[in-house]
Symmetry: C2
């Protein structure tokens, strides 16, 4: 198998941290080129996004969480997606909220302002999707709601989905890393969120 990734982007990083937490290593290939993906990769993988895991028989698995789920099934320890029915549901719920509010919020702000993405405000090739300035405000709203909701949750819980580090922490961590890159760090008033960020950033996996 081979994992196609592009280091600076938040979605590949979700998988890289996941693998680091599992202690699993996989052959990887960086397919980034400047602020875009290499043309040969875009040609070979129709959705043209990263990360993508290609199995030896040619099967292509895209979407960061689908790839994580594949490795969770192959290497159940340590569990990063819950084990009981309730844990599994709660982890999935918080992971989705981190994605829909946090990661999507930062992406809306970044993709609709950065000059490199002028005509590519969604991760798309072969179509012209101009930036929509009004999405910046909407992204800011999402991000604020993400900070509020997660700060409250992290006031009562060590990790995003409760007592254990899970993939919900990984998506939230990648959101903050991306937000930092876009100069949108956690506002000082969210002290629970700050405490959590120091904790999860100090894990060796955060270097991935």
């Amino acid at each position: 198998m081979r994992l196609y990734e592009w280091k600076p982007a938040p979605n590949p990083r979700r998988v890289l941290i996941f693998l680091a937490e599992k202690g699993v290593t996989v052959p990887m290939e960086n397919v980034g080129q400047g602020f875009a993906l290499r043309p040969d990769y875009v040609q070979r993988y129709v959705p043209a996004t990263v990360p993508m895991l290609e199995l030896d028989d040619g099967t292509q698995i895209g979407e960061a969480m689908a790839i994580c789920r594949y490795f969770e099934a192959l290497y159940p320890e340590p569990p990063l997606m819950g084990t009981t029915a309730l844990e599994v549901a709660v982890v999935d719920m918080w992971e989705r909220r981190a994605y829909e509010l946090g990661l999507t919020g930062v992406a809306e702000i970044f993709r609709n302002t950065h000059p490199e993405f002028k005509d590519r405000s969604l991760p798309v090739y072969g179509a012209r999707l101009p930036q929509i300035p009004a999405l910046v405000e909407r992204g800011q709203w999402r991000l604020r709601r993400f900070y509020e909701l997660f700060d409250a949750q992290l006031g009562a819980n060590e990790f995003v989905a409760g007592k254990r580090y899970t993939v919900a922490d990984i998506t939230a961590l990648c959101t903050i890393g991306f937000a930092h890159f876009a100069k949108l760090d956690i506002p000082a008033e969210y002290t629970n969120f700050q405490r959590w960020y120091r904790d999860v950033s100090s894990r060796p996996s955060a270097a991935a």
Copy 2:
């Protein structure tokens, strides 16, 4: 437990069809009121979205797919989210694509044009989020890409994620139902998609 839903909305329907396929019945409560959610529900459940599953101890599980995952763990038969590592990943991948391209595309068109959602273009309470006309075009792009990608996939596969009916079919089916409501039916040229839609619509669960 109790499932809070609102029939006309596509996200609750994803769970209702899922439960119908499992043959599981759960006490339910409709919390819709006109084109909005009942104020007492919005107050009681902070994210203020449907569906939400409340357990007897008060635990609230939100996000349609997290709720489905809870029931998949409690009632594994018939499996709707895959069983092997590969199946689990492939189902998750296609379910996410159906959501990101299909359901999100229709929602972008509908929420940014329908007069009832003038200041509520995301499913949000307590904030004013005006419609963004430019998102209509982007939603149309997403939806076109959804039709193209899924039509190709359904030309080679009986169901969205392969040989078996899964939750990926459910999200795609709810997308088409929502698209129909918004007068955005499957274009005639996507004959594989049309064939699939006739098949999945004829299952008793589609009445949910």
